[in-house]
Structures are given as C-alpha cells and as structure tokens.
Symmetry: C2
C-alpha cells in the first residue's frame, strides 16, 4: 500500500502518516524501488490505534507507550489501566477547570447589558480582580 492508501484506511492525513514514521512512532515502512513508502496491514492497525488514542487526548509520547503495550502480548492489563486512569484524572481535572471558567465568564456575560453604552462588567471583571479597580 502506498502512503495515501494507508492514510485513507487509517483515517489520517498523508502528512501525518509520514510524520509518524519520521518520528518513529510507527516503524519506518519498506520502500519501493523508486523510493515510495510501502505499508502493510499491521501498519494500518497501528495507525488506527494511534489515531484513536490521539482522539482520546493521549499525547504522542503516551501513544508510543500505549503502542508498546499494544504490541506486547505479555503485558498486564494493569499497565494499560494505569496509563488510562491517569488520563481519566487529567480529563476530570480539565473538566473542573472549564466549569469554573464557564461559571465565572457566564456570570460576567449575564451582567453585561450588551448595548451601545461603554459600561461593561466583563471588561471590569477581567481587569478588576487584582489591579484594575482604580482606572
């Protein structure tokens, strides 16, 4: 399979597939006589795996780690669970942050009349918390 075929099969842009090979996230593919990259089905499976893991927010380095576990027939499921749980905690933390952000900003937006006049609680609220009170 040429690179565009494998990219299509894996649901990734051609550039990204090339990039993943370049950084050694997936093994360097064989080359045709004229230098074209030649991928096999195993490469497609790994690329799909990586795409999915990336969609889940795992970093490329975590993907590398997961891919190692994916390849290892003898790894324990505990190893995988540890990484996934860590990621789950990060997601939960991010959710909490977003929530307080949302609440605070929504509060400011609601307080703003949104008319032609210059008074604006949003601007005031962004600046005032620490040093702006006196302008």
């Amino acid at each position: 399979m040429n690179i565009s075929a494998v990219a299509g099969a894996a649901g990734l842009p051609v550039k990204t597939v090339r990039y993943y090979s370049d950084i050694g996230l997936v093994p360097a593919p064989a080359r045709s006589a004229s230098g074209y990259r030649s991928y096999d089905d195993a490469a497609v499976r790994k690329l799909v795996f990586v795409r999915r893991a990336r969609e889940f927010g795992f970093s490329v380095e975590e993907c590398r780690e997961l891919l190692g576990l994916y390849e290892d027939r003898y790894r324990s499921s505990a190893d995988v669970k540890r990484i996934a749980t860590r990621r789950l905690d990060e997601i939960a933390e991010k959710q909490r942050e977003l929530q307080s952000l949302h609440d605070e900003l929504a509060h400011l937006v609601e307080a703003c009349r949104g008319d032609h006049r210059p008074d604006c609680p949003i601007i005031d609220g962004l600046g005032a918390r620490h040093a702006l009170a006196s302008e």
Copy 2:
C-alpha cells in the same frame, strides 16, 4: 519599574512580559540610559488584564482585541459581550467533548480488570472502533 518588578506585580514570568512587548500586545516600554526596559503603572494594569484574559482561555489575538476595547472609552458593551459570548460557546463545546471522552474512556477503564493478565478492554477498545473490523 524594571521588568522583574512589573512581572512580579502582574503575576507573570519576566520572559512572558518581554514576549508580550516584543509582539506588541502591550506597548514597547521606555528604556533607561543603559537599555533596561522601564514600565509604568498603566503597563502593570494592562499586563494583569492580559493575564486574567489568558487564564480565561482567550487567545493572545483575542486579548489584543479585548485590550483595544479596554482602552477605548467609547466602545459599546455589546462589542465586548460578543467576544465573551463566543468564548463561552467554545468553552461549552469543549465541555461536551471532554464529557463524551471521559464517558467512553471511563467505560473502558471500568471494563479492565487491571491485573497481571494481558487481556485488556482498553487496548481492544482503542484499536477496534473504526478500521479493524470493516471500515
């Protein structure tokens, strides 16, 4: 005020203050005879404003826009509200994404025994969804 004083007052790293001046997000400060940057209170207020806006997730370019509105005594509050509401929508969207991510990953983690055996629904779930079966 030298750069470290203003950075301390604004709650930003020195490097970041220099960076914000370099990209023209805040005006280029006056220089001492020996070339040291010399900031005033107005600069501190603007830097605090930017820091807060960044904490709210506004991009640097949005900060530039907000700072323009912040500086403009005659802008309407509607202008500000428009930007803030857009950001609020983005936050809400990000929250929805994170939620489905969380649910899906939590489901996989719960299904995993996390023991010494190699069977792992997380690994299987990451690889299987799209292309391994029939896509």
